[in-house]
């Protein structure tokens, strides 16, 4: 694809997102002879879970496929490419110095998920990051050696994050899971049915030997001055303060459905956050558009990879091969259901934010300012909540999780984009 200004390219299969789902889709389609363009806003493939670590490379599970991606003559990768608009069979893509309109015959949306960050007093202090967030930062060079880190929130991601942090020399003071000990034990027992998952979890636990892993605990407050100095942890025995440099805290994942919404794909709203509705071939309600992985609902890397393969095959018309994978896909998705069941959030966590706790981080809008508004739009117009740089991604997910307001609909531009880029999308 040329990098000429605003060239209108035409692509057989366009895959948006180069995580496990997108990579699998691209490889599957290429293996069937299709010419594929794979785009991602990051500097290289891997997405979240297969993110390249500057010191340690990519996870072993990712190496084979990422190597195949690099070798493939039929897959052209466009990195540092952010999709900012779409419609009518094309996507508007912005790169650091340029923009392009990319027309496609088929599209696979594999845009993954972002971390659910929930508010509590002090959550905006420098040093408070997502659990996946700090892992991502550290893999890309963030200095963490010798820093004291508290890992908290919910889900197996906490253990993965803690392991990476330790590998990079962080002092992980503890991993604090909000789910109860009984729930976590049930989850671990259920994992025995998925040998690969069980091994993965066990390996993590081993690597964390010596690090406290506590259940039924959650952070109620972060304290500090110009940065984080300590957190206050709620435990079954009461609260206590832990001095630390970082709090890596995440409460699960939220699908990145904005592009799909903009294109008019039907959503399913069976949880507090929308995911993309698809048929058994992973086709969305919009002709020629498919969806795979976390965007269909949080399920982990394994189901993402299988679904990417299904979507890639279906997109190029290899329906029998796609169908043949359905059994494996269903099995992988059962793991997803396990996650939701065992790591549901303690409702006390939803009550941590006080009237003066910031909800909209971009515009500094506290929870109290939203009182008295019965619809999201009025609240937004009056308080500026959701009008900032993140375009309502963070505060929108908070308010949807708290069931206060529904997440606002996606709009053009999907991300802040240069005016010259938008002018080109006539």
């Amino acid at each position: 694809m040329s990098k000429g200004a605003h060239a209108l390219e035409s692509v057989e299969l366009l895959v948006c997102g180069a995580g496990p789902a997108g990579v699998a889709a691209a490889l599957a389609a290429a293996a069937r002879g299709a010419r594929v363009v794979l785009i991602d806003a990051q500097a290289q493939a891997g997405g979240g879970v297969w993110r390249h670590d500057l010191r340690f490379g990519v996870p072993r599970t990712a190496q084979r496929r990422l190597a195949a991606l690099r070798r493939s003559a039929r897959i052209q990768c466009l990195f540092e490419a952010q999709v900012v608009a779409g419609g009518g069979g094309e996507l508007l893509v912005e790169t650091p110095d340029d923009a392009a309109r990319v027309r496609y015959d088929k599209l696979v949306i594999a845009t993954g998920a972002r971390e659910l960050l929930l508010p509590f007093p002090g959550w905006t202090l420098p040093g408070v990051t997502g659990a996946g967030g700090l892992q991502a930062l550290v893999k890309q060079g963030w200095p963490i050696k010798g820093a004291r880190v508290v890992v908290a929130g919910s889900g197996p991601l906490l253990l993965a994050s803690a392991a990476v942090l330790r590998k990079h020399g962080a002092i992980v003071l503890g991993v604090h899971e909000q789910a109860t000990r009984q729930r976590v034990a049930k989850f671990a027992a259920a994992l025995a049915r998925w040998p690969a998952h069980a091994l993965h979890a066990a390996a993590l636990r081993m690597r964390l030997a010596g690090v406290t892993y506590r259940c039924g605990e959650f952070v109620v407050r972060a304290e500090g001055d110009d940065r984080l100095r300590a957190v206050v942890m709620q435990t079954p025995q009461g609260t206590h303060r832990i001095d630390c440099d970082y709090l890596a805290i995440g409460y699960g994942l939220v699908p990145n459905v904005e592009l799909a919404q903009l294109l008019g794909c039907r959503m399913q709203n069976d949880g507090r956050h929308a995911s993309i509705a698809t048929d058994e071939r992973l086709a969305t309600s919009v002709e020629h558009v498919y969806a795979a992985g976390e965007v269909r609902g949080i399920g982990g890397a394994r189901s993402a990879a299988i679904e990417g393969e299904i979507a890639g095959l279906a997109a190029v018309g290899a329906h029998n091969a796609a169908t043949a994978l359905r059994g494996r896909q269903r099995q992988a998705r059962r793991f997803a259901a396990l996650l939701t069941e065992h790591f549901a959030l303690n409702p006390d966590i939803y009550d941590l934010a006080q009237a003066d706790t910031v909800i909209c981080r971009c515009e500094d809008v506290p929870l109290g300012a939203l009182a008295g508004y019965t619809d999201a739009r009025s609240a937004k117009l009056a308080t500026r909540c959701g009008m900032g740089a993140c375009q309502g991604r963070i505060c929108g997910a908070v308010l949807a999780e708290l069931q206060r307001f529904p997440q606002p609909p996606a709009a053009t531009p999907l991300f802040p984009a240069r005016l010259s880029t938008l002018e080109a999308f006539r």
Binding site: A41, Q42, A43, G48, L54, R55, E80, P96, R114, E115, L117, T124, L125, P126, G127, V128, T129, G130, G132, G133, L134, Q135, A136, L137, Q140, G141, W142, P143, D226, R227, N256, V358, R361, C362, E363, D364, G388, A389, C390, R393, I394, F415, P416
Partner: protein, 86 residues
Amino acid sequence: MSRVVLYIDERAISVPRGATVAAAVATATSRFRVSSGGAPRAAVCGMGVCFECRVRIDAALHQRACMVRARDGMRVTTAAGSAAHE
């Protein structure tokens, strides 16, 4: 592993090649930007959705430091280095 040298608020900072601007900023300071209410802020999500890690890179404002690879000679300005906040 080779390294790059860039400037965070005019301070020379060295990071491994391939590291993000966020990594370089974090080496120099805990404060990336200042909120509209004047509070210090830093990177949170590490993946370009929270926009808390915004800094000025060379002539461009509002760059997500976690999404940009550090390159030799880049001049990065955080809240501390700019006259008006962001």
